[in-house]
Symmetry: C2
Amino acid sequence: MALKIYGVLRSRATRTVWLARELGIPFEHVPVIQSYRLPDPRAADAPFNTASPDFLKLNPNGRVPVVVDDGLVLFESLAINLHLARKHGGELAPRDAAEDALMTQWGFWAATEVEPFSLQIQTHRPAGPKHDMARAEAAAATLARPLAALEAALRAGGGWLVGGRFTVADLNTAEILRYAQADAGLFAKYPAVGAWIAACQSRPAFKAMMAEREKEPA
Amino acid sequence: MALKIYGVLRSRATRTVWLARELGIPFEHVPVIQSYRLPDPRAADAPFNTASPDFLKLNPNGRVPVVVDDGLVLFESLAINLHLARKHGGELAPRDAAEDALMTQWGFWAATEVEPFSLQIQTHRPAGPKHDMARAEAAAATLARPLAALEAALRAGGGWLVGGRFTVADLNTAEILRYAQADAGLFAKYPAVGAWIAACQSRPAFKAMMAEREKEPA
């Protein structure tokens, strides 16, 4: 049974579609719409969305992405990606228990230290849906410490987070930090971070995912 | 080299100390003080705290817990716990790749869907440091969906999150939901959640950790 990935690409499903393309595994993409506000009249019109009863059977949290992988239903994008990398092996996957621990560590770090603030930057910068520069700048200020920690880790690690090579840890973290790129000057003080995210985003699998994303309705 | 766990028990280090006691592994506990505000005059007086240069060499994010395990320096409490469970095996650890994926999933779920709000309940309920009932109640309202999802998962899973038994997934999630117990009535509508957290907290290793915690200076 092929891997099924649920979630439009204007959601955290980008992470899993990018990874599946990196791993070269076949998958079926079901572009379920994320409905943040419930009840959402738009969502009620869509045939299959995160507020629909069929979707809530799959993930009662009402969020994408969700995958069904050989019968295993899994939510939480970063957990999905760690699982798929472990399962399919190769350069992106952990080679041993220590690498697995570190890749998991960076996932939790990105989800808790970075994502709440990178999302605020995306939301509140001028191009975002709720322009509020004071909030955007407060979020950027909060990221100063995590970005310094990331800068140090990348310098110590030869430009990558784990094992001196591009892995699922870089992919997960880069996708979470992508939201902060709405603040074009943010990485100026962190050259290793800037070089690293450019390297991540120059990968053909990332570009293919983003090209597909551009084709989706806004 | 024995496992070293850095962090006072009035921090997320509770999670790792509880787990180490469950696993029955020897460890050295270094009660590093968490300094949330920098510069913090109290922290500057302490010989070793999360703002001190020596600690920042260990974790530039300035947070506890951190462990050093056979030379591996690891931060992020939930990643540490998943790593220690995998390494030491037994009933608390994943038995296969699917269980590992689900235990990782519940960690990310708890960290992102629950923790920001359970912490607000702890902070803003009358016994907390910043009494603000409106904020405490807003946080409780946000937890309605995650708690319903948890209730459904526990009912489907025979009272536990993964594999029909107490595992590191339950331990991680229960410690994050503990903060919400400041709202005594919160679990009334979720009987499976109430029974589950009571079962988790009745374990001798939890009780021993909490007794040790009570002995620490406030």
